[in-house]
Symmetry: C2
C-alpha cells in the first residue's frame, strides 16, 4: 500500500476520526497520526490504545507540519475549524473532512483560498457509539465514501482517494451540491421522520401503552432517532435548502396518502405500498 | 402446563399460525392440531414437519369438532372467515384470532352471535418471512399478546390467555378500540411512513445514486416497507379511522417541523429531535 501521508492530523478523534486513524495506521497509509480534540480524556484514551501517536487540544499546534489534515468533527464544527486549520497548516498540506453535508465546507474552503487543496469527503458509515473508544479499524471496509473535490488539484484528490481506498472503502466522486441533495432524502429526511414519529409518541398520553405495544417495526423505523441531537441539528442547519425541499416533497406525498385513505381508495394505498416495497427490495437487507 | 385445547384448529398456517401450532404442541398446550389453509403445498409442508397433525383446505371441515379455533389469516380475511367458522364450529368452541386490528373482528363476532366465546388477540411478534416454513416455536417468548375479550365469558378468556402464556407470551387485556388506536401509531403509521419514504425515493430519477448512498439509517427506517403490500393494505382498510387520525396528527407535526426549518429556528428543530430521542431511548434497543 502506497503511503497517503507521513504525518496526518485528525481533528476530532471520535467514531469516524478514530476509526480512520486506526485503519490508516494498520494499512500503512499513515506513518504518524496526530489527534486533536477538546477532550483531553478522549485524546488520552486514543494515545493509550495506539489510535494516535501524538495529541493536542490546540488545533493549530496539531496541524502544524502535517501533510494531510482530516476534519472529523460535527458538520458545523468542521466549517468553523477550517479557518484555523487553513491558517496553521503549511501551504502544501492537503485538507479534507468527513462531514455529511458538503457544499458549505467546500464553499468555505474556496472562500479561504484553499480550494485547490481541499477535497471534501463523506464516508457512508457510522453508528450510534461515540468517542475514541468506539474506533473500529474495519468501519469503512466495503463502504462508499463520497468525495467532492470541487476545484481541488489532481495531487490532493489522489491523496484523499488513496487514503480511503487504503482503509477498504470505495470512492465515488460527486458534485457537492448533488451529494447534499441525495443525502437530504437518503439520510436527513429519514432522521427527521424518525424523530418526528418518536416526538408524536412521546407527546401522547398513552405512551406507557405504546412502549408496551411497540414491535420490531417501530423499533427499526425509529432507531436513528436515538442519535445525537446536536449533530442532527447541525446537519439540518447546514443542509437546510435541500432538506426543506425533501420535507416538502414528503408532505405532498403524505397528503396524497391521506386522501387515498380518506376516500377508501384501497387500490391507490396498495399501489403506494407496492411502489415502496419494490424500491426497498432493490436496496436489499 | 395445563392443556388449553384437546383439538385446536388453526386457520392460516403461516408465520404466526405455524409458530403458534409448533409452540403450543411443544408446550403440551395442544393435544391435536388441525391446520386449514388455501395452499395444499403449505399444508403438506406443515404436516411433514410436524407443525400440524391434520390438514384441510376446507375451513368448515377443519373447525368441526374443535375446542378452539384460531384465525391466523390476514386482518381482512379473519373477519370474512368468521362467518363460516362460527357456523361450522360447535356451540362450545372457543374462537380467537391474531389479526392486528381488533375492533372490526370483535364487532363481527358479536353480530354473528358468538361474542360470548370470541376472544380477540394480537401477538406483537412477527417478521418478514411467510408460510409454514417460517414457523418458529420461540416466536412468542417474552412478547406481549394483547387480548381484547369484549363481551366474552370467563372460560373462553381463560382458555385463550392460557394458550398464549403456554407459548411464553405476556397477556395484556385491552379494549379493542383502545388497541386499534395505539397500534395505528405504533405500527401502522410507521409502516405508512416507511412505504412513503421508499415510494419517494423510488420515484426519484436519482435512484441509482440513492441506492449507492443509503446507509444504515435509511435501511433501518425503511425495513418494514419491504413487507407484504396486500397485508398492509388490509390493515390500513380495517383500521382506517384510527390510521387517518394518526396520519393527520403526523401531518400537523410535520408542518411544524417544516416551519421551524424554514425559519431557521434551530432551537425548535433541536427540541423536537431531543424529544424524539428521549422517547426512543426509553424504548431501548
Amino acid at each position: 500500500m502506497k503511503i497517503a501521508s507521513q504525518r496526518v492530523a485528525i481533528v476530532g478523534v471520535g467514531l469516524i476520526g478514530g476509526s480512520l486513524a486506526l485503519a490508516g495506521k494498520r494499512a500503512g497509509a499513515f506513518a504518524h497520526v496526530v489527534g486533536a480534540g477538546r477532550s483531553q480524556a478522549n485524546l488520552d484514551l486514543a494515545l493509550r490504545t495506539g489510535i494516535i501517536d501524538e495529541a493536542h487540544t490546540d488545533v493549530a499546534r496539531a496541524v502544524r507540519g502535517a501533510d494531510l489534515v482530516v476534519l472529523a468533527a460535527p458538520a458545523d464544527a468542521c466549517v468553523e475549524l477550517l479557518t484555523a486549520v487553513a491558517a496553521a497548516a503549511g501551504p502544501a498540506c492537503v485538507l479534507t473532512d468527513v462531514a455529511s453535508v458538503k457544499a458549505p465546507i467546500c464553499s468555505e474552503a474556496v472562500r479561504l483560498g484553499v480550494g485547490s487543496r481541499f477535497v471534501g469527503a463523506h464516508p457512508i458509515a457510522g453508528g450510534t457509539a461515540t468517542g475514541a473508544a468506539a474506533a473500529d479499524a474495519s468501519l469503512f471496509v466495503g463502504r462508499t465514501v463520497v468525495v467532492t473535490p470541487g476545484v481541488a488539484e489532481r495531487a490532493p484528490r489522489d491523496t484523499v482517494a488513496r487514503m480511503w481506498r487504503a482503509v477498504g472503502a470505495e470512492v465515488l466522486d460527486l458534485d457537492a451540491d448533488a451529494h447534499d441533495g441525495v443525502v437530504a432524502v437518503s439520510s436527513h429526511l429519514p432522521q427527521l421522520l424518525a424523530s418526528s414519529l418518536c416526538a408524536l409518541v412521546g407527546g401522547d398520553q398513552r405512551q406507557a401503552l405504546f412502549l408496551r405495544l411497540c414491535g420490531a417495526g417501530f423499533r427499526d423505523t425509529t432507531r436513528i432517532a436515538a442519535g445525537d441531537a446536536a449533530m442532527w441539528t447541525a446537519i439540518a442547519r447546514e443542509n437546510r435548502r435541500h432538506l426543506l425541499d425533501a420535507v416538502d416533497r414528503f408532505a405532498e406525498l403524505w397528503a396524497r396518502v391521506r386522501d387515498a385513505l380518506a376516500r377508501g381508495d384501497d387500490a391507490e394505498v396498495r399501489a403506494l405500498i407496492e411502489e415502496g416495497a419494490a424500491m426497498r427490495r432493490r436496496l436489499g437487507a
